[in-house]
C-alpha cells in the first residue's frame, strides 16, 4: 500500500516534470526561430490585428466600467476619513500598476487566446501543420513566433488603453458625478504617479503577453484528436493562462515593492 502510494506520487511528479519540460522546450524552440531567422512581418501584422486591434473595443469597454466602478468604491472608502482628494491617484495607481495589465490580459485571453488555441488546434487535427512541415515551412516560425511577437506588442498597448480609459471613467464618476474637483483629481494624480509605476504596468503586460501566447499556442499545437480535443485545448488554454496571469502578477508585484 505504502509502496504503491510512493509509486503513484513518483509517477505524478514525473508527469509534471515532463509537462514542464515540454512547455519549456516549446518556448525555447519558439525563441530559437524568433532570433535565428528573419521575422515574418506580414504574419506578425496579421496577428497584431487579430490579437490587438480586434480586442480594442472590449478592452476599452471593460476599462471604462472598471474605472467607473472603482472610482465609486474608492470614493466611498475615502469619504469615511475625508480623503476624497486622493481619489485621482488611487484610481490611477491601481489601474496603471494592477488593474490595467491584469484585467486587459484576462479579457484578451478570453477573446483572442481561446481563438488562437482553437485555430492552431484545428490546424493540427486537419493536418494543416503537417502540410506546413511537408512544404518545408517551419510551423514554429510560421505559427508560433508571429503570435508571440504580436501578443508581446499588443498586450502593453491594450493595457495602456485600459488604464487611460479607466482613468477617464474614474474622472466621469469622481468629478462629474460625485463632485471632486477636476484640478484635485488630475493634480494629485500627477503628484503620486511615478515613472516606475508606468514601467511596472508595462513590464506586467509584456510578461502576460508572453504567457498567454505561449500557453495558447502550446495547447493548440499539441491538441488531442477530434472536436473534443480542440474544445479541451481551448478551455485549458484560457484557464491555465488566466491562473498563470494571477500567480505571476503576485510574484512580479511582490518582487518590485
Amino acid at each position: 500500500m505504502f509502496i504503491s502510494c510512493i509509486r503513484g506520487l513518483g509517477r505524478g511528479a514525473l508527469g509534471v516534470l515532463e509537462m514542464l519540460g515540454s512547455y519549456g522546450m516549446f518556448l525555447l524552440t519558439a525563441f530559437f526561430w524568433l532570433f535565428g531567422s528573419p521575422l515574418k512581418f506580414r504574419r506578425v501584422l496579421e496577428q497584431i490585428i487579430f490579437i490587438g486591434v480586434k480586442s480594442t473595443v472590449i478592452v476599452l469597454l471593460t476599462g471604462a466600467f472598471t474605472g467607473m466602478v472603482f472610482a465609486l468604491q474608492v470614493f466611498y472608502a475615502l469619504s469615511k476619513f475625508g480623503g476624497e482628494s486622493l481619489l485621482g491617484p488611487t484610481v490611477a495607481l491601481s489601474l496603471i500598476r494592477e488593474l490595467g495589465p491584469v484585467v486587459s490580459a484576462l479579457m484578451i485571453t478570453g477573446r483572442a487566446g481561446s481563438a488562437l488555441a482553437s485555430e492552431i488546434g484545428i490546424m493540427r487535427i486537419t493536418e494543416q501543420i503537417d502540410a506546413l512541415e511537408i512544404m518545408a515551412v517551419n510551423p514554429y516560425r510560421y505559427l508560433v513566433v508571429p503570435n508571440v511577437v504580436a501578443a508581446v506588442v499588443s498586450f502593453p498597448l491594450l493595457g495602456a488603453f485600459f488604464s487611460m480609459i479607466g482613468i477617464w471613467g474614474g474622472y466621469l464618476v469622481g468629478v462629474k458625478l460625485l463632485g471632486v474637483s477636476e484640478g484635485t483629481y488630475f493634480g494629485e494624480m500627477s503628484n503620486f504617479v511615478e515613472m516606475k509605476d508606468i514601467t511596472m504596468g508595462i513590464t506586467k503586460s509584456l510578461s502576460f503577453g508572453l504567457i498567454v501566447s505561449w500557453v495558447c499556442c502550446y495547447k493548440g499545437f499539441f491538441t488531442e484528436f477530434g472536436a473534443k480535443g480542440v474544445g479541451k485545448a481551448t478551455t485549458q488554454s484560457v484557464v491555465i493562462s488566466s491562473v498563470l496571469i494571477l500567480i505571476w502578477d503576485y510574484f512580479i508585484t511582490s518582487i518590485s515593492l
Partner: protein
C-alpha cells in the same frame, strides 16, 4: 530512388511496421494497397521524415532520412509533394493563396510571376474560375484538385498521394486519377499512391505493393501479381471477407 530497409515502428506498444522492405525506382508510379489502418499512411510519413522509424533505415536519393535534421531535412523535403487524404488546405486562405503558398514561402519569386504560375496550375486542374473561393466553399473533388495543384506547384521530383480518391464518386475519382497521370507525364516524378481504389488505380501505375501485418507481402507489376495468383491479392480485389486477410 526510395529504399525502405527493415523499418520498424510502434505506437503505444502497437507494432505498425514490422521489418518493412520496399524499393521504388526513380520516375516510377507505385501503388501501395492493403487493409485500412495498417500503416500505409504511416509509411508515407516515414518516407518524408515527419516520423522516424524505431529501427531500420529509409533512403531517399541515397540520403538516410532518419539521420537528417534542420536544413538538410528541409532541403530533402523540398523534393517532395504530398497529397493529403483530406486535402489539408489552409482554411483561412483562398484556393489561389493555398496554391501560391509554397511559392511565397519557399522561393524569391515576385508576385506577378507567382500569379502566372498559380493560374497555369489552376488551369491544369480546371480551377481557374474558383481561385477566389475558400476551401469551405469547395466540393470534395475541388478540394483534392486544389491540394494537388498546391503539391505540384513546386514541381516535385517525388509525389506521395494518400488515398487521393477516397470519399469521391467514381467519376470525380477517375478525374483525379487522370490528373495524377497527367501530372506524372508532365513532371516525371516518382509517385507513391496509397489507395483502396482497386483495380482502377492499376491503370496509372507501373508497380503495385500490398502491405499487411507491417510488411510488404506482394510486390511487382500487375501482370506479375496476377500470374502469381496470390490469394490475399485476389481477396483484396474482390472485397471478400473470406480469405487469408482478416478483419482488424
Amino acid at each position: 530512388m526510395i529504399i525502405v530497409r527493415d523499418a520498424y515502428k510502434s505506437f503505444n506498444g502497437n507494432q505498425v511496421l514490422k521489418g518493412l522492405n520496399l524499393e521504388i525506382l526513380e520516375g516510377e508510379m507505385f501503388a501501395l494497397i492493403g487493409r485500412s489502418g495498417l500503416g500505409k499512411s504511416v509509411l508515407l510519413k516515414h518516407i518524408i521524415g515527419i516520423m522516424k522509424p524505431d529501427r531500420g533505415d529509409i533512403f531517399v536519393d541515397e540520403q538516410n532520412v532518419g539521420s537528417l535534421h534542420g536544413k538538410q531535412l528541409e532541403a530533402m523535403r523540398r523534393k517532395f509533394g504530398y497529397l493529403f487524404q483530406e486535402g489539408a488546405l489552409f482554411d483561412s486562405l483562398t484556393v489561389f493563396e493555398n496554391v501560391a503558398f509554397p511559392l511565397r514561402e519557399k522561393t524569391a519569386m515576385k508576385e506577378p510571376e507567382i500569379k502566372d504560375r498559380v493560374f497555369v496550375e489552376l488551369e491544369h486542374m480546371g480551377l481557374k474560375k474558383d481561385a477566389h473561393k475558400y476551401p469551405a466553399e469547395l466540393s470534395g473533388g475541388m478540394r483534392k484538385r486544389t491540394s494537388l495543384a498546391r503539391a505540384m506547384i513546386m514541381q516535385p521530383s517525388i509525389m506521395l498521394f494518400d488515398e487521393p480518391t477516397t470519399g469521391l464518386d467514381p467519376i470525380i475519382g477517375q478525374s483525379i486519377l487522370n490528373y495524377i497521370q497527367l501530372c506524372h507525364r508532365r513532371l516525371g516524378f516518382t509517385g507513391i499512391i496509397v489507395t483502396h481504389d482497386v483495380p482502377r488505380v492499376f491503370t496509372i501505375v507501373q508497380k503495385i505493393a500490398m502491405m499487411d501485418d507491417g510488411r510488404i507481402i506482394i510486390n511487382g507489376t500487375y501482370d506479375e501479381i496476377v500470374r502469381q495468383g496470390n490469394p490475399a491479392f485476389q481477396q483484396f480485389l474482390s472485397g471478400s471477407i473470406d480469405g487469408p486477410l482478416h478483419y482488424v
